[in-house]
């Protein structure tokens, strides 16, 4: 996607952002605002050299070699739009094991959304939020899972921008084949299904990453039960929901 702005204006905007955040970082006596500004400017249209500069910058700033190693690895492997399923799966498995090693807990996303809900309630109406029993378990605190969600968004953005897979779209192709091109319809259905998903994740106690994958890899019955019922529910609903328009041939 190209922004409808002149290149010189974009350059000036980037420079202005760096200057403003440099002032902020002097005021706060912390280097983070400058690093964030550099990251945003370099990641907006990543090339191999900009990812390398970013890795160098973070290596110098944090005093650790890992950002440079990570950026070199990303430069080498991130250019294709997709990895073949088996190498991608092995990389995913290594991330899961790394999560056990680094953070001493399995990957889990839904807890972050629940904590966001509790945070929103605590921001708007704290007297009521204190009375809800469930928020005793999911405290309104910025925690590991929210950082995980933010990191997922940034990582996916970086990866798709670097390989040229980034495309702004409001309606997926296969949905438009089955259900029409209306954006409102798609977004309303997505919202309704999102409510159902948040609700179901709370009943079961986790989502695909937190319950299914981390349950199955530890050979817990929870993961297997959830996997089977998810598969059955998904297939039945698909055939009831899309009916005669279940078959959609993609062009890839």
């Amino acid at each position: 996607m190209r922004l409808p702005v002149e290149p010189s204006a974009r350059l000036a905007g980037g420079a202005l952002a760096i200057v403003v955040l440099a002032v902020a970082s002097i005021a706060l006596k912390s280097g983070w605002p400058v690093m964030i500004a550099i990251s945003v400017v370099l990641v907006a249209r990543p090339r191999w050299w900009s990812v390398l500069i970013l890795g160098f910058a973070f290596t110098i700033f944090l005093g650790s070699g890992w950002p440079l190693i990570g950026s070199l690895f990303f430069i080498a492997t991130g250019k294709p739009k997709r990895w073949w399923p088996i190498p991608a799966g092995i990389a995913f498995g290594l991330v899961e094991v790394f999560s056990f090693y680094l953070s001493d807990r399995p990957l889990g996303i839904t807890r972050g959304y629940t904590a966001m809900g509790s945070m929103i309630e605590a921001l708007i109406y704290p007297e009521h939020a204190n009375k809800v029993n469930y928020w005793g378990v999911y405290e309104p605190v910025i925690d590991w899972t929210m950082a995980l969600i933010l990191g997922t968004v940034i990582g996916s953005f970086l990866s798709s921008r670097y390989s040229g897979d980034f495309k702004l779209n409001t309606v997926p192709y296969v949905w438009s084949v089955s259900k029409g091109k209306s954006t409102t319809r798609r977004w309303l259905w997505a919202f309704a299904a999102g409510i159902m998903m948040g609700f179901a994740a709370r009943i079961a106690g986790g989502c695909v990453s937190g319950l299914l994958i981390s349950g199955v890899v530890q050979l817990a019955p929870a993961g297997f039960i959830f996997m089977m019922s998810l598969w059955v529910g998904g297939v039945i609903t698909t055939f009831l929901f899309y009916r005669t328009r279940v078959i959609a041939v993609r062009k890839d």
């Binding site: 498995g93 090693y101 959304y113 590991w144 990191g151 997505a190 179901a200 994740a201 817990a220 929870a222």
Partner: protein, 254 residues
């Protein structure tokens, strides 16, 4: 009832949600840095394996694309092996999710229904947002709304009824069966290998069919544009037949 709040008060409440002990170390289950690093890796892997696309996930449930299974099986194989090796050598411990049979069956059915309609699971919704699929925004808002709805109106009244049916607790299969876990792991790996081979073969067959279909449609479209109008009657009837056949295919698939 709810009163209007000032910006200053809102900022004060926002400051309360931040705990400064979460940014002290990189390791540990509460560290924000650890979450950020893992999230970056997770996002890159999700995007590269194409799991955060509606087209791929929905095609799995339409039984037309098994990319998700072909990615998912190696995840399980690698993770099971490495996690139990590291557990036995004492690098880290297991964190087993609690098993409650009835709510997990009900929740799984509802979750599957939601994935079938939405096409994202919570992790891939975040990935899809980063990838530019804007329909992940209502999905994420919906997930937050669903969690709030459950906490506000349903959790207290359901807590002691069916949410406790079939409760086993945080146990694994080898603890329930009281056997060495490596027997189960070997069995599981063999099953997963067979499953991976089967799904890969089936998926390659489906990809072959899809590409053949697309190639046929494109080729005949190009031929129709380039060929001069048919004069011989048999040529005319052949072209008519192919046109009718293509129209039938389009009606079927679109």
């Amino acid at each position: 009832m709810v009163e209007l709040i000032t910006i200053k008060e809102l900022l004060g409440r926002l400051a309360q949600t931040f705990d400064s002990s979460t940014i002290e170390a990189v390791k540990g289950p509460t560290s924000l840095y650890g979450g950020m690093i893992l999230g970056l890796l997770f996002g890159v892997v999700l995007q590269k394996s194409r799991l955060c696309k509606y087209d791929v996930v929905s095609s799995l449930f339409r039984l037309q694309d098994f990319t998700v299974f072909r990615v998912g099986t190696p995840i399980l194989m690698v993770s099971v092996l490495m996690i139990f090796i590291f557990k036995d050598t004492g690098v880290f411990e297991l964190h087993v999710p609690k098993t409650v049979i009835v709510p997990q069956i009900i929740g799984g059915l509802m979750f599957g229904a939601a994935i079938a309609i939405m096409g994202y699971c919570p992790g891939t919704a975040a990935g899809a947002l980063g990838e530019g699929s804007l329909d992940a925004i209502p999905s994420i808002l919906g997930m937050i709304a669903g969690a709030v709805l459950y906490a506000e109106f349903f959790h207290d009244s359901w807590e002691n009824t069916f949410l406790k049916w079939g409760e086993i607790g945080g146990k694994t299969f080898f603890e329930i069966l009281k056997i060495n876990h490596w027997y189960l792991i070997v069995l599981f790996m063999m099953m997963l290998t067979m499953f991976l081979i089967a799904t890969t073969m089936f998926d390659i067959f489906i990809v072959f069919m899809r590409r053949t279909f697309n190639m046929f449609m494109e080729m005949t479209d190009a031929l129709e544009e380039k060929l001069p109008p048919a004069t011989k009657p048999y040529a005319k009837s052949t072209i008519e037949t192919v046109k009718k056949f293509k129209q039938n295919l389009r009606d079927m698939f679109k």
